[in-house]
């Protein structure tokens, strides 16, 4: 099944298994079933608990916060992650603050799902990966969809805890098939899963064991898929061996698997589709330089998109957003 259907199936399971779960979002009800068809069929099966809202992300955030405070488990869909900015105040000043302000007597476990990312020719305001602005917001978990993590496991974790979560779903993942590790392999790559207590698993992929790899590549979401293809091709064609490290949760980070990989390879490249500077990769570079000072052969290389507007023209867009070519060049530099 493609990721969009796996995710829809996950949400169906959540609605089925927990009467507190409520889905909200623009145009998520049938027959349209959401812009990316993730919720198709769900409003027919659960008409009371799957509701289309007016076009107001502010309202979606506010209604979700109220529902969560009242004991429901709202899962809000943001049709385009670009409009997460309209939720920013309620996320930063309200939703993430209640639990700590009221010493746990109030909880606000809102789950926000947002379709992010470009490469679709959707232009400057429907193609961005704005999650970096949410990284480091106290008491907010930011989790990225990936083809290496079962969304059922991820949502079971969300619904089992009382913390608010932002789940970013890169649009290009929707039509792809999940590629979960099977017998320790993903395709031709060796796959291992590392997980510190209380964290979601980090998947590590490489053609040969980590100790034989020359560089660690840290990536999440769709760029992780691009990186996996580069890692596999460089290994098979040129015996340039890199280990790809794919966390599900990107803030707060489970650094243990990253440190373990980086210590083994001595060189790190980070990849993200968001705009360059003040980013996930720069935080990773900062942490790794502190934790592994003197143990890396070279500075951490941060690969990110050009810090400018994303063009609608597909050729111009490709020149701005991170693609396989930039990842490959960075891996070659880092070996």
């Amino acid at each position: 099944m493609i990721f969009a259907k796996e995710l829809g199936d996950t949400l169906r399971g959540a609605l089925d298994g927990d009467r507190r779960v409520v889905l909200l979002g623009e145009d998520i009800a049938d027959p349209y079933g959401g812009a990316f068809k993730v919720t198709r069929g769900l409003s027919t099966a659960f008409p009371q608990r799957v509701r289309t809202t007016p076009i107001s992300e502010g309202a979606i955030a506010g209604i979700s916060a109220g529902l969560a405070l009242a004991g429901y488990r709202p899962i809000a869909e943001v049709m385009f992650g670009d409009f997460l900015t309209l939720m920013f105040d309620q996320v930063v000043n309200h939703i993430t603050k209640y639990q700590a302000m009221y010493a746990g007597q109030a909880t606000c476990p809102v789950i926000v799902r947002a379709a992010t990312g470009g490469h679709r020719g959707y232009g400057p305001t429907h193609s961005q990966s704005l999650e970096k602005h949410f990284l480091g917001v106290p008491h907010l978990r930011v989790v990225a969809a990936s083809l290496y993590h079962d969304p059922r496991v991820v949502f079971a974790d969300f619904l089992g805890r009382d913390e608010p979560v932002l789940y970013v779903e890169h649009k290009l993942l929707y039509p792809q098939h999940l590629t979960l590790p099977v017998h320790g392999m993903v395709g031709d790559l060796i796959a291992t899963s590392d997980c510190s207590p209380g964290m979601l698993p980090t998947i590590r992929l490489s053609a040969v064991p980590a100790a034989e790899c020359a560089v660690s590549v840290l990536a999440y979401g769709y760029p992780a898929l691009l990186a996996a293809k580069v890692v596999e091709r460089l290994a098979m064609q040129e015996e340039i061996f890199a280990e790809l490290v794919v966390p599900a949760q990107i803030a707060p980070m489970d650094w243990a698997p990253v440190l373990s990989s980086a210590a083994a390879t001595g060189s790190v490249v980070t990849v993200e589709e968001g705009a360059d500077g003040w980013s996930w990769g720069s935080e990773a570079a900062s942490v790794l330089s502190r934790r592994l000072f003197g143990k890396l052969r070279r500075p951490v290389d941060v690969v990110a998109s050009a810090p400018t507007v994303i063009p609608s023209s597909k050729t111009k867009e490709a020149a701005v957003l991170v693609g396989g070519a930039q990842i490959e060049a960075a891996i070659r530099r880092a070996c």
Binding site: K37, Q237, L296
Partner: protein, 368 residues
Amino acid sequence: MNPVLVPTNDVNSEHGILVMWFAEDGAEVAKDELLAEVETSKAVLEVVAPVAGVLLHAAAKGTEVSLTEPIAQLFATPAERDAYAAARAAAPAAAPDGPRATAKAVRRAVELGVDLASLRLDRLITVKDVEAAVAVPAPAADLPAPLPGAPGRQRILIVGAALGATQVLDILAGSTTQQAVAIVDDDASRWGDLVHGVPVVGGAALISELFTAGAFDAAIIAIGRSPAVRARFRELCASAGVPLANAIDPTARIATDVRLGQGNIICAFCHVATGVRMGDNNFFSAYNSFDHHSVIGSDNASGPSVYTSGRVTIGSRIRFGTGIVIEPDVTVGDDAAIASGAVLVTSVPPEHAVKTKIVTTTVVPLRR
């Protein structure tokens, strides 16, 4: 033959479900006749025949199909269709269980005449693997035999041919009671070498065989760095019934009322004070001092200049760096690791590392 493609410019989907075939497999269809319906994430698409012909399905009803691959083929005649279908059925399936190798490894295997299938590796084959397969191990017949040994001396087999072996050989050089007669090492490239006149006779697998043949009396494990490896070889010797011997440098001072186990290597100028109890198979470098009534476990390894006060307890499989001082009554737990320069004023639990901040030099990688 004409392929039947799903007509779509839906950029959000790469796959769809083949909901229904309206034309049977093998049917003769006209141009623009409705053949099938495919459902994508956006829409249900009708697939029509691009030309007239005889239909060969490439996907079954209800299965997921790629939107970039043909879902069927159209042929001019039924005979052509049947021939194609038969040929496709007869084509051998690509062998997914063949050896996986990098492109470089495949080229190298051709150069060296190595059959990749013969490597039987359950992982990605690299150039290194191909080259290793070519390297012919020295035939067993060419390996040297252990030295005969002088009468009246304990004949020693040394495990490990690296620098630890030279330290043990140096200790035994002045001995009138012990003589090294052979060395074993799992690194086949060392086989046949002489280390200070003592031959490397083969791998550790030989230990049991040589002992049964009466080639030596006791073994000493001359591996200085890794307590885990020391422990592994001690267990190997124990399971083969091979006793371990101590190697004590003549300059070491062993006091009265000391009980030593077996297999301990005690290098030059060490001091083992009165009342000390020491287990088996420790490797203590030069200038180690264990003061009175300290208790020491087994399989430890130390660098030079590790000093304990009295009544210190040291567990097993501990790795000590260089220049370590331990206060009285301190206990160091099993499997701990103690960094150079540490001054232990409190006990260390098992499986803990002691890090030091007494760094007077800073080592950084070279600029490139």
